[in-house]
């Protein structure tokens, strides 16, 4: 009788373990999948830095475009990009935050809110070149803004709006209902509660959204090409109605030139663009973390 009854506990935890070969293989595959994009990026970066780093000097940063690669520079593109991104943020952040506040705080669940929500999700999936076409027709032609900074910034603002709206809504949702009720119970109006309780707590999330949006806007070339941003600009923008170039446009133009010197310029331009992007993101992330700490989260 005792022969058919093996000691139970020992049979469960000792003895031959099941084979883990499959699990190990799967883990290896996942690791490979995770490393692959990093590897590709590293190779690309290495190539760009090796080609372009030596080209970056004061002359390169402070010169206008030229027919000769040695005397060409990114000044017009870089300044154009700064204008463009600043304007884009100035347009997209207030509109995006306003939309998010309306949808989260004021809109009743109904057809209008659903319609707006569906459209925002759809907009997020539209290819950027389509935005360029829209901008060309609407801002450049119909509203006669010409190929100006304002037209470019409005187009990019449309492009990044869904990013800001979604990030802000997410942030607003994390603000506890109890705090809204606390504010209302003190006799504040809904606007006062939104303005002084809810929005301050959502600022880190809004910043995250704005970082993503700006990063997207600063790297976009396609919509600007369609819009008709200039590739040869020997002046700096003097206002929002000025024609403009942008860094991605400049890089795009250089890569399509036959001379080897321009390829070097393009690589150097890419480095400048990337460093700017990283610095922008870094600054925003530091600001956000400081604020989160202040909110005690």
């Amino acid at each position: 009788m005792s022969v058919v009854d093996p000691p139970r506990n020992s049979s469960r935890i000792s003895g031959r373990p099941p084979s883990r070969a499959l699990e190990r293989a799967f883990r290896g595959l996942c690791l490979f999948a995770a490393l692959l994009p990093v590897l590709v990026l590293a190779v690309l970066l290495f190539d760009v830095v090796r080609t372009g780093l030596g080209r970056i000097d004061v002359q390169f940063l402070t010169s206008f475009p030229s027919r000769r690669p040695q005397t060409a520079g990114i000044l017009a593109g870089a300044v154009g990009s700064v204008w463009l991104v600043g304007l884009t943020a100035a347009i997209a952040v207030p509109v995006g935050v306003g939309t998010a506040v309306y949808l989260e705080e004021y809109a009743r669940r109904g057809r209008l809110a659903t319609l707006i929500e569906i459209n925002i999700s759809n907009l997020a999936g539209v290819p950027s070149i389509i935005y360029g076409l829209l901008g060309l027709e609407l801002f450049v032609r119909a509203l006669s803004m010409g190929r100006s900074l304002l037209a470019g910034a409005l187009t990019l603002a449309l492009l990044v709006l869904p990013i800001i709206i979604m990030a802000t809504r997410e942030a607003l949702r994390t603000v506890p209902l109890a705090l809204r009720e606390a504010g209302l119970a003190l006799g504040a109006t809904q606007w006062q509660v939104v303005r002084q309780v809810v929005l301050p707590m959502a600022v880190p999330g809004v910043l995250t959204g704005s970082i993503l949006a700006i990063s997207r806007a600063i790297g976009e070339a396609a919509p600007l090409v369609v819009l008709g941003a200039l590739t040869y600009v020997d002046f700096l923008p003097d206002g929002v109605t000025s024609p403009f170039s942008a860094l991605p446009i400049q890089i795009f133009n250089w890569t399509s030139r036959p001379q080897a010197g321009f390829a070097v310029n393009a690589a150097a331009g890419i480095i400048v663009l990337m460093v700017t992007l990283l610095m922008l993101n870094g600054a925003a992330i530091i600001t956000r973390n400081r604020m989160q700490k202040r909110l005690g989260r």
Binding site: A178, L179, E181, A182, A185, L186, G187, Q196, G296, R297
Partner: protein, 278 residues
């Protein structure tokens, strides 16, 4: 003679046997008078023709099992009930004889006269202790020169002053749970309301913090009309002068606290206070 009681006789609930004469001395004025109040969330009715008169400068407790409509009742008092989508109500509530649901009455102004303390302490996390006390004034952009005095008075009344007077600039969320709840009481008192609603204010607190809040109620009722919702019958017995027992949205009994606990008139009240259900 309070009108709500005489009116309740014509309601559909025949078990309401309370006599106004033995439950309320004529000298105590009704601060809040509730008549035939029904409330719904969508199709679900949570209050059924509740009528009661809340006496001024006393503590009135509202007891009953979970889901009986206690919180909904007091959220009707400061018009917070209507903030929930699909919430509706019928009946009237009078504050000092004025209908708070009348046309043209701004709920915002009602809430400045009827303050509220919630179940869980909810100080504003981005504000210091001092700013939390002043939150009611800050949010409503009320300019006051004597803010220091307001802060000290409110914190004194909430029995928190001695514990925080040296660190008013620190965040309110850094305090213990019981201190946070007293901070929330101070915040409600700083806007100088007439009535203070408390929705299970001690349910998230330990026994010592609970005792402090209960002691506080005894001093606060000298100046304020207090309505406290509690699922804790001992607490109701300790702090209140009158108690209302709600069951499934109906007011079963509303009388002097001593009488309700020692000689309840309704069988269901007796069963509840003796712990047969709940």
């Amino acid at each position: 003679m309070p009108e709500a009681f005489s009116e309740s006789a014509c309601g559909p609930a025949p078990y309401r046997t309370m006599q106004p004469s033995d439950s309320m001395p004529d000298t105590v004025a009704a601060k809040l008078s509730v008549q035939e109040l029904s409330a719904w969330y969508g199709e679900k009715q949570v209050l059924i023709r509740v009528s009661l008169d809340i006496p001024e400068r006393q503590v009135t407790a509202i007891i009953g099992p979970s889901g009986c409509g206690k919180s909904t009742l007091i959220r009707c008092f400061n018009r917070m009930h209507e903030l929930v989508p699909a919430a509706k109500h019928r009946g009237s509530i009078q504050l000092d004889g004025e209908d708070i649901y009348a046309n043209g009455v701004d709920p915002v102004l009602i809430r400045r006269r009827i303050g509220m303390v919630f179940q869980k302490p909810n100080p504003f996390p981005m504000m210091s202790i001092r700013d939390n006390v002043l939150a009611g004034l800050r949010l409503t952009s009320t300019r006051r020169a004597d803010t220091d005095a307001i802060v000290e008075r409110a914190l004194q009344q909430a029995a928190l002053w001695s514990e925080v007077k040296d660190r008013l600039g620190e965040p309110g969320t850094g305090l213990s749970g019981g201190q946070q709840q007293r901070l929330c009481i101070a915040r409600a008192l700083a806007v100088e309301p007439d009535v203070l609603l408390m929705d299970e204010p001690c349910s998230a607190l330990d026994p010592i913090a609970t005792t402090r809040i209960e002691d506080l109620l005894t001093t606060l009722r000298e100046r304020y009309t207090i309505i406290i919702v509690t699922h804790n019958m001992q607490q109701a017995a300790r702090v209140s002068q009158k108690t209302a027992f709600l069951l499934q949205g109906e007011l079963v009994e509303f009388t002097e606290t001593d009488a309700l606990f020692t000689k309840p008139k309704d069988k269901r009240t007796e069963d509840y206070v003796t712990g047969k259900f709940g």
